[in-house]
Amino acid sequence: MSDIHGNREAFAACLEHAAQNGVDRYVFLGDFAGYGADPGWVIDTVMARVADGAVAVLGNHDAAALANKTAGMNDVAAAAIAWTHTQLDASQRDFIAALPLVVEEDDRLYVHASAFEPERWNYVTELYSASKSLMATQAHATFCGHTHVPALFHMSLTGKFASFVPVERVEIPLTPQRRWLAVLGSVGQPRDNDPAACYAVLDDARYALTYVRVPYDVESAAQKIVDAGLPTVLATRLFDGF
């Protein structure tokens, strides 16, 4: 799950969906805070899962909220960061401060943005940026977020790069003959014109990846954003998923 962005309703819906579908291990790809009204609850929940063996990596909004640094962000994002900074308690700040940028596990790599210079938070949006990430690692499969748009890139043995728009709930075999880069989309603020929360499930026995959409209570999440005094656009965009 990636880019939860303080959206408690979306995150809780995804966790429930995952539990019902036999998910037994969790990987959180960063950006727990920023934009949404429940950063504390989201980070506490992630912390509890990590204590149980889940993996979490750092996102740029988490780093920014910790340092209260908004350089390079647009006004809306900066306003959300400034507010989020005031919301975090000491244990949440310590947790974020200790998050790694990249985690490698077996033949998989987890990163928030790109495996290529991960600290620069490069977006993986098309073939060129995907190829840079794919070339930067030997991992068979890389999982990342950051763009809020689900996508799947792959590189063949002969070095050809290609992209694919995943179809919801269709299992995609990540074949051993090529290397894969899965951009998961966002739990808390989807931007692909589908308001449903997005995450993905990897069946690591069969090496098959399934993208999932989970509808959630957008109204409540949006109302909380308005009530917190955050920019209204952060609430309205949730309804259309843009």
Binding site: H154, T158, F164, P173, T175, Q177
Partner: protein, 470 residues
């Protein structure tokens, strides 16, 4: 794993190699066995040598991906696949006859061509419903099981509508087999299920005439010729071919996929009902198009395929075969009107739909003499006339509607059988109000709803309009 060094008795991941089978172009095949698995199995091992055409490698990856998620009687059952170090696929060994063996005695009789064609079309429809387009259909890739069902094999060039198309990403040139490749594949469009109908048209042409419609072009550049040059009409090559068969074959071979059958099921339907094929100018042609026409087509031939807007399942959903089961009894006239309204609604939502109007005629138990037989035939004819009269109210194009009078003493069973046999997607039928007959015999519609292999809509008259049974 070096395919050349395999020998009988060797064990690979629990599978014992029993003996080699005829090798294919890009793989070797072994009969294998495994304790606890009782179906006959074959292991396909790609012939991968250094510097080999990457089509072999990617094709194998594609087949592993696609075969593993296909089900049903029209594909070999997937058993297991090897990993990167040891690539192989183990699948059901399909006993039967390759359609290639029929080529030894072409031309075949029209009825046999239609029979084989319908079986292949059913298999294709089943494949398309599972989101897969074969894209390399040819006689050597179809096996007829001993029970007659067609099985499609070799999915190395196939495309799954909801998975990454590894072939298209890897190769810039069109991919296929020269004699069978469709015009849109030549233009690098790999997303149209009607490409398989084109290839089936080539097979039908070959079986019916003994010749391939576009010869055996080897180089990709020669493949483009089929975009403008029409084949010699089949009846020119074999005058025993009836007009309906030529109509079907040439419709499959249309350059524009939208001019072909919308679905493999609709093609199978025509192959099963020769007398109901709507004949057009295609049926009577004995000459190829004039040079000027061909020249104009050459001038206008597209360089690339138009962008695709519909998914495979969207295409199939837009072109169902709908069956209206019509009760022609005089007292059911109100119900027939309501049925027509319901059928109009269904046809309006699916512009590619075909409608089969079906009436069940109670069959005489034994035909005693010719007079009764003649009566029976005249009854049959009367029913057809009545069906056509009923369908006039639908104002549907003639080539979308067919009429069928089926003799049976069990109407529900006859409707269900017919729906299964012709791959009906949707049955629309009426339910009579309460009547002593219904209490006595049980409801036909209830049985159809319970047992039909497809969606069933039951039409009722609004309460109060129910007509008493006479």
């Amino acid at each position: 794993m070096n395919a050349k060094r395999l020998e009988a008795g060797q064990v690979i991941d629990g599978f014992t190699l029993e003996g080699p089978l005829d090798p294919g172009g890009m793989a070797s095949f072994w009969r294998v066995s495994r304790a606890g698995t009782d179906i006959p199995m074959v292991m396909k091992i790609p012939l991968m040598r250094r510097g080999e055409d990457p089509i072999t490698i990617v094709g194998f990856e594609v087949e592993q991906m696609i075969l593993a998620r296909l089900n049903g009687p029209h594909v070999p059952r997937f058993v297991a696949a090897g990993d990167f170090e040891r690539p192989y696929i183990v699948m059901e060994y399909v006993a039967g006859r390759s359609v290639r063996t029929f080529l030894e005695r072409v031309p075949l009789a029209p009825a046999e061509v239609a029979d084989i064609g319908a079986r292949i079309a059913f298999a294709l429809h089943d494949l398309h419903r599972q989101h897969v387009i074969h894209l390399d259909l040819k006689p050597s890739n179809v096996i007829l099981r001993d029970d007659g069902e067609a099985v499609l094999i070799d999915f190395g060039l196939s495309r799954h509508d909801q998975l990454p198309d590894l072939m298209a990403e890897e190769f810039d040139d069109p991919i296929g087999t020269g004699p069978y490749v469709s015009p849109e594949q030549v233009l690098r469009d790999r997303g149209d299920p009607r490409s398989d109908l084109f290839a089936l048209g080539v097979i039908l042409y070959f079986l019916a005439t003994g010749e391939r419609p576009f010869g055996e072009p080897m180089r990709g550049g020669e493949w483009r010729r089929r975009l403008w040059r029409d084949p010699v009409p089949p009846r020119r090559r074999n005058d025993k071919i009836p007009p309906w068969l030529q109509e079907i074959i040439l419709r499959c071979l249309e350059v524009d996929p939208t001019e072909r059958y919308a679905t493999a099921a609709q093609l199978a339907f025509d192959l099963q009902h020769p007398e109901q094929v709507a004949l057009t100018a295609r049926a009577s042609r004995l000459e190829r198009d004039a040079r000027l026409t061909v020249f104009m087509r050459w001038l206008r031939a597209p360089k690339r395929a138009p962008p695709r807007r519909r998914t495979l399942s969207g295409l199939l959903a837009g072109a169902p075969i709908v069956m209206a089961a019509i009760d022609l009894a005089p007292e059911a006239s109100g119900l027939r009107e309501a049925l027509a309204t319901a059928v109009r609604r269904v046809l309006a939502t699916a512009p590619g739909a075909r409608l089969a109007c079906v009436n069940i005629l109670k069959a005489p138990q034994v035909v005693i003499d010719t007079e009764v037989d003649a009566q029976g035939r005249s009854m049959h004819l009367q029913r057809l006339v009545a069906l056509k009269h009923w369908a006039r109210a639908l104002a549907a194009a003639d080539d979308r509607v067919t009429y069928h009078v089926i003799e049976s003493n069990d109407p529900a069973a006859a409707i269900i059988d017919y729906a299964r046999h012709t791959q009906i997607d949707h049955i629309v039928m009426g339910a009579r109000g309460s009547s002593s007959m219904r209490r006595l015999l049980g409801s036909v519609s209830a049985k159809v709803v319970a047992e039909a292999p497809c969606t069933v809509t039951v039409v009722r008259l609004p309460a109060g309009e129910t007509q008493p049974a006479s």
